[in-house]
């Protein structure tokens, strides 16, 4: 496949690996957080870690939209489905995410709720157009990459005069997640057994940066003294960006660099950003699974589009009424999302929690660290415990 296979070339990979081995200082460790699930996926799917020296390690970041969505938001949608006769349109990833009381959108669908998997916001608009007598809600989720299509959908719904279409907005912002991550764990660890986060730099978001550019990350080296290299999602991108991070550290530089120049510019896609800005504004604060409440970290729909805002359209989605998000107490997703634990450090990994029967959202999405570990990397770390015959046998009592 032209323009993709080139970025998966084995010979080039070996060459970059040799360059990394040549410049990596054997006297020190390099811990780099790949921010996005797309990076995590590439690292595991192509076996990138196998090509790195032992002292260069990847720490998996929170950039998986499904993983950072707090359970309470899915609980809200389930409540909506039970109380109103709505059609809920959602991207497929969300269907299996565990909600409170061992349910999920997929289970609620099986009970009879009208939940439909869509591939784009346009599908959701078509469903609204074809079902004028029903309320159609689109479960909008994702970082800055998926935000412009949601904004476009709202504008189109307005143009088409669709009165039965609304959006449950859960769009979150990447730069705020980075500060949320760097602000908390060093000073106040969330759990007593949680080690401190060791981090020497970031492999910065790929698709997200195609929208917002590289400028919004400049505070990271300035305020937190961690270098950032924007990296594409192909394995050679990840390796090249790693080489660039090592070079920065070795040379005593600390700045934002862009490896993904074929797509990302410093200023990003201004048109897309203006469009989003016309429809959405920042929320004061939003809850992230694993990272807690982070100020200015998510978007909500502006007042002038209130008719298209599901949270204002349905009383049961009102703020103060939101169910408390309570994850399974043994689930290590929060620590994994903060980069301080690995999936195999979790007691549930591979026993009570598998992709067939996920306890935490990191095991659901193909971008989640646990799913990547389970699906691609299991043979690397021998299973700490024998695998039970059926998932759930070793489960601890639910909170």
């Amino acid at each position: 496949m032209k323009y993709i296979q080139e970025f998966r070339d084995q010979q080039l990979a070996r060459q970059i690996a040799a360059n990394i081995a040549a410049i990596a200082d054997p006297q020190r460790h390099y811990h780099f957080m790949e921010f996005c699930g797309g990076h995590t996926h590439a690292i595991f799917r192509y076996g990138v870690q196998d090509l790195m020296p032992d002292n260069v390690r990847f720490v998996h970041g929170p950039g998986c939209p499904v993983c950072v969505l707090p359970m309470g938001r899915i609980d809200l949608m389930i409540r909506l489905l039970r109380e109103h006769d709505v059609i809920l349109c959602t991207y497929g990833d969300l269907l299996r995410v565990p909600a409170s009381g061992r349910t999920s959108l997929m289970k609620v669908k099986a009970e009879g709720a009208d939940v439909r998997m869509v591939y784009s916001t346009r599908d959701a608009l078509n469903i609204a157009r074809d079902n004028p007598a029903r309320e159609v809600v689109f479960f909008a989720i994702g970082f800055e990459t998926t935000t412009p299509p949601t904004a476009v959908a709202i504008l189109q719904a307005q143009q088409l005069g669709l009165r039965n279409f609304s959006v449950f907005c859960n769009h979150v912002l990447t730069p705020s997640a980075i500060s949320g991550l760097l602000d908390t764990p060093a000073t106040e660890p969330k759990a007593t057994d949680e080690p401190a986060l060791r981090l020497d730099g970031f492999l910065g978001p790929s698709h997200v940066s195609s929208i917002i550019g590289t400028r919004p990350y400049e505070f990271v080296p300035q305020r937190y003294h961690k270098p950032v290299v924007i990296a594409g999602f192909e394995p050679l991108d990840v390796m090249q960006a790693t080489l660039m991070l090592i070079a920065q550290l070795n040379e005593g530089r600390c700045e934002v660099e862009n490896e993904y120049t074929r797509v990302v510019t410093r200023d990003g896609n201004r048109k897309a950003m203006a469009l989003v800005d016309s429809v959405m504004e920042r929320r004061d604060s939003f809850e992230w699974r694993g990272l807690g409440w982070i100020p200015d970290s998510a978007l909500q729909i502006r007042d002038q589009f209130a008719d298209f805002d599901a949270e204002r359209r349905f009383a049961s989605l009102a703020d103060g009424d939101a169910p408390q998000s309570v994850d399974h107490k043994a689930c290590a997703c929060p620590s994994i999302l903060r980069g301080v634990k690995k999936p195999i450090d979790c007691k549930l990994f591979g026993t009570a929690c598998t992709p067939e029967n996920p306890m935490g959202s990191c095991m659901v999405s193909s971008e989640g660290a646990c799913a990547a570990y389970w699906s691609y990397g299991r043979f690397r770390d021998p299973m700490p415990r024998p695998m039970p015959n059926s998932a759930g046998q070793r489960e601890v009592a639910a909170p």
């Binding site: 496949m1 070339d9 084995q10 971008e367």
Partner: protein, 349 residues
Amino acid sequence: MNQMVKRFARGLDIRNGHVDMSHGSGGRSSAQLIEELFVRHLDNELLRQGNDNALFSVTAGRMVMATDSHVIAPLFFPGGDIGALSVHGTINDIAMAGARPLYLSAGFILEEGFPLAQLDRIVASMAAAARDAGVPVITGDTKVVEKGKGDGVFINTSGVGVVPDGLNISGDQARPGDAVLVSGTLGDHGVTIMSTRENLQFETSLCSDSAALHTLVAGMVSVAPDIHCLRDPTRGGLATTLNELAQASGVGIKIRETSLPIRPAVQAACELLGLDPLYVANEGKLVCICPADRAAQLLELMRNHPLGRDAAIIGEVIEDPHHFVQMETGFGGQRVVDWLAGEQLPRIC
């Protein structure tokens, strides 16, 4: 046949008519549907016996039996339809024992309101597939469910076949050192179906690979009666089939990504949708596990058969207490090729 048609005052309106509840009642309408539509296409001596069963003689030896239900949307797709698919599916399940398929049965569940013209097209295609394969449909059944309680048409086919002496082909026979072969390109059927789904239309020149593999298998077992495993990687794709075989045989399997035959169009569609072609369904491909010294001979034979032109040796069976399927990636790393969890879902980001 002409005599039968005259039994009914007015012929079935195949062009404009629809399935109604009376077609499943067992009365005169049912009989008319059977005679003027099903028997007209599928006609053969055993079906013409007209009983609720079909009577035939069997040869001495071992037989296999298989059943497969078909519930596909859309019903018609590039390269096939539910009719041909339902014939190929069961023939392939029989052939994967190394067997020669003999006869099929067909059970139809029709939804009230289903256009007779479409049913006629489906049954005609089924008949053509059965004729081409030399495996007749010799008994059948039809039921009608109320509108909204079915999805147009569901078809179950069952079949029987005879296993030549000396074969012992089974999922638990893979042994460390064996070679792993596939008969052709992976993922064609699944990607074709996805490209025609209502909410996911994209243009492609791809066709489903739906085909009956028994003649290919007959050639293979005649030169290599010591083949260990045969399986058609349908739902769940190659990855799922290899995991089933590894689990059943208590072995590991190691494949090489660069050896996998995958069409660029399939690769590109999967890339676009965030899917993995290893998990996409096939309907006219088989996986063969055989002693390593048979691999070259089998590969040559497969490549000389029209349904095996793109056959390839893709890996080998290894010892592994975890029964993992592993892949050497084109990038030079290693990864597990796991069972499919749930359905393959496109990614968000």
